[in-house]
């Protein structure tokens, strides 16, 4: 079995080998650019890891891994348009570097290419895997819609928020691992448990992101702490503090959010003070740990050797119990 780093190398080599060479260039070149920006390649690596854990062959998982990476990048390209984001991973986004139409159409064709690569899997598993894929892809769109809806929605409950991050982030991680397990000839029951493991892990992963934005070490996280606060982004922490204020009929936080601050630092400190008052950090940690626990419960039930399970236990630390 390969390490995650080895899997990433293998996958990247495959991705590069499959880079688009077709015409029209204006359609495919932007996708080559965007795919080269990189990122952690988390989803394809998890897919391949799942195949290997069930003793499947790495090469049997490559095309599905690429399909998932294409799909993920398609969502990023279109999300960047919807969020008007100028940068992604330190590089100019497609709609900024090229234009809106390129971002739409290159994204579209990347999504169809994802389908094409999915169809290269072992034919006996194709229909099963395809059904997981379409279900998941629909959920990811629904998650993105809820995320946009929440921006203008006055009240968002923390459970609505968790459902949103489940759809927007967790289900694709979970589907990647389930598909990987199936391609490794795992039993259906084990594939379902691995899905549950990764789904809960994905939720915990996103909550940890929210926590680190407020309480991370700037030197480790590599970006300004409080970025979400400055943008009034409805994270689990902000939602919790707003819920807590509602109970005691306070509107300190609401006023802080409405105020125009001369220094961002002031705003961040004012919001963090409210978080401290309501033990918001503790609430978020408790939620995160609940999903980590659910993840581990699923993992323990999977019919695997202890050595393979250890890899998956370590993944929990790698993805969630991180400080950056």
């Amino acid at each position: 079995m390969h390490s995650i780093e080895e899997i990433r190398e293998l996958f990247t080599a495959y991705l590069n080998q499959e880079s688009f060479q077709s015409e029209p260039q204006n359609l495919y070149e932007p996708n080559n650019y965007f795919l080269q920006i990189g990122g952690k390649r988390l989803r394809p690596c998890l897919l391949i890891l799942a195949t290997e854990i069930f003793c499947g062959k790495t090469e049997d998982a490559l095309s599905a891994a690429l399909a998932i990476e294409y799909f993920h990048n398609f969502t990023l390209i279109h999300d960047d348009v919807m969020d008007k984001a100028p940068m992604r991973r330190g590089f100019t986004t497609i709609h900024e570097k090229y234009n809106l139409n390129t971002a739409i159409l290159s994204g579209d064709v990347l999504m169809i290419k994802a389908c094409e690569y999915l169809a290269k899997v072992n034919p006996i598993y194709f229909k099963t895997i395809f059904d997981i894929y379409t279900k998941t892809a629909i959920e990811v769109c629904e998650g993105q819609q809820y995320d946009m809806d929440f921006e203008t929605q006055q009240i968002v409950s923390h459970s609505d928020y968790i459902e949103m991050i489940r759809l927007k982030t967790a289900v694709l991680l979970a589907a990647a691992m389930k598909i990987g397990a199936i391609l490794g000839h795992a039993k259906q029951e084990d594939a379902e448990l691995l899905y549950s493991y990764a789904e809960n892990l994905g939720i915990a992963f996103q909550i940890q992101d929210d926590i680190l934005d407020c309480y991370g070490d700037e030197n480790l996280v590599g970006k300004q702490v409080g970025g979400d606060i400055i943008q009034n982004k409805k994270t689990l922490l902000l939602i919790h503090a707003l819920e807590a204020e509602k109970v005691i009929e306070s509107n300190v936080l609401e006023n802080v959010l409405k105020t125009t601050h001369t220094h961002n630092r002031e705003k961040v400190e004012a919001v963090l003070a409210v978080f401290t008052q309501h033990q918001t950090k503790e609430f978020a940690i408790q939620k995160r740990d609940y999903y980590v626990q659910q993840s581990i419960l699923a993992l323990e039930k999977i019919n695997l050797q202890e050595s393979e399970k250890q890899v998956l236990f370590k993944l929990v630390d790698y993805l969630v119990m991180r400080t950056y």
Copy 2:
């Protein structure tokens, strides 16, 4: 066998029955709106017709027909954004009625729903049909890219133009009929011939559109004649006339296109005068009839009873030899 009108009724009933009821509403409601705008439902009807012609069951073709209609509408929603079109079939386009983000994301989910419905076909044909679908969907995106590229491209040859309309319009009609034939248990050879029939017919159909824009009867076409000319749209006719001018080193047409006219009528008449000089109409008719001939050649080779072939012969008249 049902008539085209009966098939359209059957299909519309199925489409209505399957209308999206899921949450989030902001994601699905725009698609219900757009799908209700209607149109001729040409692609799904041709798919079902192909199934019936090969004595397949109508109900076996419905989900694939809906998949093709969803895919087609997804392309329309995104094309309308790219073309900045405010209206479609007399109704407000999604990006105008809602906003850009809704047009992008609702389009995306509609495309994935297309995949979902495609997966409901007879399992023995799923992989074959899916491969046709992805190949075609990619080609349609490529066609749209060429169409956009041509807008800013100084010189476009008439053969490049025909390749563009083949990709943008014809292949989806052809894929619809091929998929329908397969679901009707047609032999591979016959399915390929039906593809060729519909592909050539699709090209002829689009050329006829270009001809009618210049030479149609305003009362029959239902819109102002010369719309393409007013917009400097690179149709087969404009491309031919530009090619002809290049040969004789004239730039009359180029100057007309550059001039700002107080009345659109003047511009249309000036362009039509150049078309007459170069026998552009005759050229377009000749091209159209060439593709009709190719279509009929393929049709004649299909292993079908004369009565079934007659339906397909009539379709040529219905789609191409129309005056509106």
